[in-house]
């Protein structure tokens, strides 16, 4: 069976600068349809309508961090098995292992290159 193409990405990120760079990287360079949420709680309300193929989560966010958002998304029927990538600042290897153990598809580190981020994501999507 052919793999489902990656088209719609939901990105949860509280930093407006990163939001702008990511929009550029994913929409204009990558050609994806992107919805950006500032808060984890906002994402929980958006997923049912937007139905993303892939969810990208920042880790350090106020109110509801990336891991809490991930766990909350797993409890929703729409996103109980949705592929999730954590996009985070450099962290310790044990934290990366923790994200993978939770069920994350992969972990990408910030800062990222806006011109190659989409390719990195496409590669992760292809090999899943």
């Amino acid at each position: 069976m052919p793999k489902q193409p990656l088209q719609k990405i939901l990105y949860v990120e509280d930093d407006p600068d990163i939001q702008e760079i990511a929009r550029l990287a994913l929409e204009e360079v990558g050609g994806f349809t992107v919805y950006i949420c500032t808060y984890g709680r906002e994402a929980l309300g958006v997923v049912t309508q937007f139905k993303p193929d892939l969810i990208i989560l920042d880790v350090m966010m106020p109110d509801m961090d990336g891991v809490s958002t991930f766990k909350a998304l797993r409890k929703l029927e729409t996103t109980s098995s949705a592929p999730v990538i954590f996009l985070t600042a450099k962290v310790q290897p044990k934290e990366v292992a923790e994200y993978r153990k939770l069920g994350a598809l992969d972990v990408i580190f910030k800062p990222f290159d806006p011109l190659t981020l989409a390719d990195v994501i496409k590669k992760i999507w292809e090999k899943r």
Partner: protein
């Protein structure tokens, strides 16, 4: 390079200019917070604000081509994070180490 990438590079330059224009104000805000951690003071709220701002700069700097800013911001962020986690006011030597990292960070803009 295809047309989309050329347009993206132009837009990236415009985002970079916007980022640079806002930077002095962001540094001033952080300097206000770092002043609240100097000498005998240790303002926990200021430490948290500073940590969050350093985290953001560390995450964005290199995406705009300021690799050293990202790297140095990350160094201060990591050290400050450990101080925050340990709870309470840090020792004088720990503060000194923090301010040394801070000075290296501010020099990375030049």
């Amino acid at each position: 390079m295809n047309d989309e990438k050329i347009a993206a590079v132009k837009k990236l330059q415009s985002l970079k200019n916007k980022f640079c224009a806002k930077l002095p104000a962001r540094i001033r805000e952080m300097e206000r917070d770092i002043a609240l951690l100097r000498d005998n003071a240790w303002d926990g709220e200021a430490a948290l604000r500073l940590h969050m701002e350093l985290h953001k700069l560390s995450g964005t700097g290199a995406s705009f081509g300021f690799g050293k800013v990202s790297e140095r911001a990350h160094d201060v962020e990591e050290y400050l994070s450990a101080l925050i986690k340990s709870g309470g006011a840090p020792e004088r030597s720990q503060k000194k180490a923090l301010f040394t990292l801070w000075d290296r960070f501010t020099k990375s803009f030049h």
